[in-house]
Amino acid sequence: MSTEARAEHFPAADWDGGVFPYRVGHRKLGMWLFIVSDSLTFSALLIGYSYLRASNVWPTPFPFYPSIVFSSVMTFCLLSSSLTMVFAVSASSRGDRAKARKWILGTIFFGLAFLVLHLIEWNHLYSEGLRPFSLPADWVTRYAAPDGTLPSPLFGATFFTITGLHMFHVFTGAIYLAVVAARLNKLKHEDVEISGLYWHFVDLVWMFVFPLIYIMSVDIGTH
């Protein structure tokens, strides 16, 4: 005990041990680290996409209407869900659990809306003939390069893989939030914050996916 008593004289500096240097608990720090790691998975896919896109003739099949308008509505849903998540965390920090739960449910609603719209869009592209391994027949002729090089079927591969992985993250995020909402009375404020971190991260990933996959593939009629 005497050694412990003497330790009281130590300056309680952030990095001297015995405290949380970032003032965050294990779980929050763990979530940050997971986000760092997961963002590298997405980076790998997006850099791979850029690499393949740069070395192929790439189709630009999305017309402003309906594709971009539709995907902008999806983006709007996801952004709204981040906003409602901010309100949820804010309500939770004031200790207002009932409000926090309502805002989390709102977040789940917008997340699911995003998922439903996204699946409608997948279905639309699928029925047009887009596959992970091939393009619709009319795209092949429409987006061929002037020298006759055919557009790359990797369009479908990258589209379905990257948006699919993101969709999976939104889906797991919605389940995660549902669990948080259900167990809210037993959870601490920090747990709500952590779920918010994950949700904002998923939203942020979309802010890279949307311009790289959609906006850069707008049909601006140069063909």
Binding site: A13, G18, T41, A44, S55, F133
Partner: protein
């Protein structure tokens, strides 16, 4: 915010039932031993495969009836087919890199000793820790199953090597073993990635958040710095391999072409002209190489950094001197880790990359020589003038330094594009990476085993057997890998099942036989190690708390430590980790937990005796 300090966080009671205590344990010490046991099993599989390969290389045409019985497809009449040999190359590499060199140093020793050395009662996420082990074990079972699911193809797994280069790996009918065997290989690696991620974020959180009072960053043992850096590397590199693995699996299962270029012929069929080989076009095999080696190079450091940490720790302890240049050692670890992310291209010099990129990668690669040399000279500086105790652990630590230099010096050769181009596909590279990444890391782990065994099991390992094991292994690995450099310079290609067809390699045959005999002798010496390990658990000499007169926290608690490591109260740290030969002190070592007061009474002659200084990191 609740939980500003550690008290009352993660206190789980000691389990009583056998299953909770030894199987699905949440105790980082049990999990660490589970990881080490996994590595001990995996290394037997990998070693057996290497012996089979050596036999095929040095005694071509000999019948090995046992082989014929075990693998009637792969070795009809006891003679290995070339495909079987290639699958052995793949599985040996994969199992050794992932399930031995990544598992034992980090998952095993890191898990066991990182929390104790920083004065924590467990890891930050015990459940995650348990999961990461079981996920890794599932990965190992899946990779083993590739052996059996490839049986129909007369191989024991895929044939593309541990790097899984596309398009060979991306096309299910590109060769024997590339069907279900390759799928299982990818799935196993993906599972392993997940396990490593869980482990890595656990390690980082534990080290940042759970250091006990007084354990500032600059008072941590160098082992902790090494495990921490390794965890950061794993956190940042495994997700990239995971991403690459997802794409590779989609190429095989969903018909995409991420890594498959157009215009490929397979068994005489042009891609897209026959339903047996549907159209693939536009993909890039080089993209796979980029994604793989962006992971693959940090992976090399994931394997060796813990060995460096253990070596620094053990050299200091048995030279009875502080680590020479503690701060420089810390920065060198970080510099190696950081540079490791920008040199992956040196594995791809022969891929046809732009000479400008190659030069950039080359310069960055050679610059890793600087922190590596800092470490080497600091190890020598630590030994210089020390009163060295030649225990087995010390011998292996010195062996590590020797092997690290011997293997690292050829890295400077291969890091130069002009020299790499002719040497890349020869035994020179095989010799280089086996010495520096394989054997050196293993020596670090041998040193760690002999050093920490008394803490883990309360008994010492037998020193005579240990020294016998050391000398045979040390001489053995040099006899194996030094001749391989010569073979490589002569131009003997890697991954060839036999060399009987090549006139210019015939003169090398005696050397090939010599290497095989050395390999078999070295493998047999490991029986001594396994015996020593098992025997010492039950019959070894009782160790006591601190058999090595060491200074760090793990030696302040019982051997083996109790469930919560420090029997209910956390230690408080007053000084750096390597205070040996402190002038005026009663013993030649001062424990980290010894308060300032004692030394003030002795006198103020201690300034500058410790390489790390006692003030640490103050702000």
């Amino acid at each position: 915010m609740s939980g500003e300090t550690h008290e009352a966080v993660h206190r789980h009671p000691a389990p009583t039932g056998f299953i909770r205590k030894y199987i699905f344990s949440l105790d980082h010490k049990v999990i660490g031993i589970q990881y080490i046991m996994l590595a001990l099993v995996a290394v037997l599989v990998g070693m057996t495969m290497s012996v089979l390969m050596r036999m095929n290389l040095s005694w071509p045409g000999t019948n090995w009836p046992i082989l014929g019985t075990l693998f009637p497809g792969g070795a009809p009449d006891g003679m290995m087919t070339p495909e079987f040999y290639l699958s052995l190359v793949t599985m040996h590499g994969t199992i050794m890199v992932f399930f031995v060199l990544t598992t034992a140093p980090q998952g095993g020793f890191g898990n066991y000793f990182l929390p104790i050395q920083i004065g924590a009662e467990d890891m930050a996420f015990p459940v995650l820790n348990m999961l990461s082990f079981w996920v890794t074990l599932v990965g190992f079972i899946v990779i083993l199953s590739a052996i059996f699911f490839s049986g129909a193809d007369s191989t024991v797994g895929p044939i593309g090597g541990w790097t899984g280069y596309a398009p060979l790996s991306a096309l299910p009918n590109a060769g024997p073993g590339q069907g279900m065997g390759m799928n299982l290989w990818i799935i196993s690696i993906a599972i392993f990635c997940v396990g490593s991620l869980l482990g890595a974020l656990n390690f980082i959180t534990t080290l940042l958040n759970m250091r006990t009072r007084g354990m500032s960053l600059m008072r941590m043992p160098l082992t902790c710095w090494a495990w921490f850096t390794t965890a950061v590397l794993a956190l940042l590199s495994f997700p990239v391999l995971l991403g690459g693995g997802i794409l590779l699996l989609l190429d095989r299962l969903a018909g995409t072409s991420f890594f498959i270029p157009g215009g490929l012929y397979l068994s005489g069929i042009l891609s897209g002209t026959d339903e047996r080989f549907p159209l693939h076009t536009g993909g890039s095999p080089i993209l796979w190489q980029h994604l793989f080696w962006f992971f693959g190079h940090p992976e090399v450091y994931i394997a060796i950094l813990p060995g460096m940490g253990a070596t620094s720790h053990i050299l200091s302890t048995f030279a009875r001197k502080p680590v020479f240049g503690y701060r420089a050692m810390v920065f060198a670890i970080f510099a190696i880790g950081l540079l490791g992310f920008f040199v992956w291209g040196h594995h791809m010099f022969i891929s046809g990359m732009s000479p400008y990129s190659a030069m950039t990668f080359s310069i960055l690669t050679l610059s890793i020589g600087v922190p590596s040399a800092v470490k080497t000279f600091n190890w020598l500086g630590t030994l210089w003038g020390g009163r060295i105790r030649f225990t087995t652990a010390m011998l292996f630590a010195i062996g590590f330094v020797s092997l690290f230099v011997a293997g690292g010096i050829t890295g400077l050769v291969l890091g130069q594009t002009s020299l790499d181009l002719p040497m890349h596909d020869t035994y020179f590279v095989t010799a280089h990476f086996h010495l520096v990444m394989g054997v050196a890391s293993i020596f670090g782990m041998f040193a760690a085993t002999y050093f920490w065994f008394p803490k883990m099991f309360g008994r010492l390992m037998n020193e005579s057997l240990g020294k016998f094991h050391f000398w045979i292994t040390f001489i053995g690995v040099y006899c194996i890998f030094v001749p391989m450099h010569t073979m490589g310079i002569v131009g003997m290609p890697r991954r060839f099942a036999q060399f009987t067809e090549y006139e210019y390699l015939k003169t090398l045959h005696p050397l090939v036989v010599f290497v095989s005999i050395a390999a078999i002798a070295t493998v047999l010496a490991q029986i001594v190690f396994y015996f020593n390990l098992l025997w010492s658990i039950f019959k070894g000499k009782r160790a006591g708390e601190n058999p090595w007169d060491a200074t760090t926290l793990e030696w302040t608690t019982a051997s083996p430590p109790p469930h919560d490591n420090f029997a209910g109260h956390l230690p408080v740290v007053y000084r750096g980790p390597y205070e040996f030969a402190v002038p005026g002190a009663a013993n030649d070592f001062v424990m980290q937990t010894e308060p300032e007061v004692i030394l003030q009474a002795v006198g103020s002659g201690r300034e500058g005796t410790s390489g790390n200084g006692h003030d640490g990191h103050r702000h």
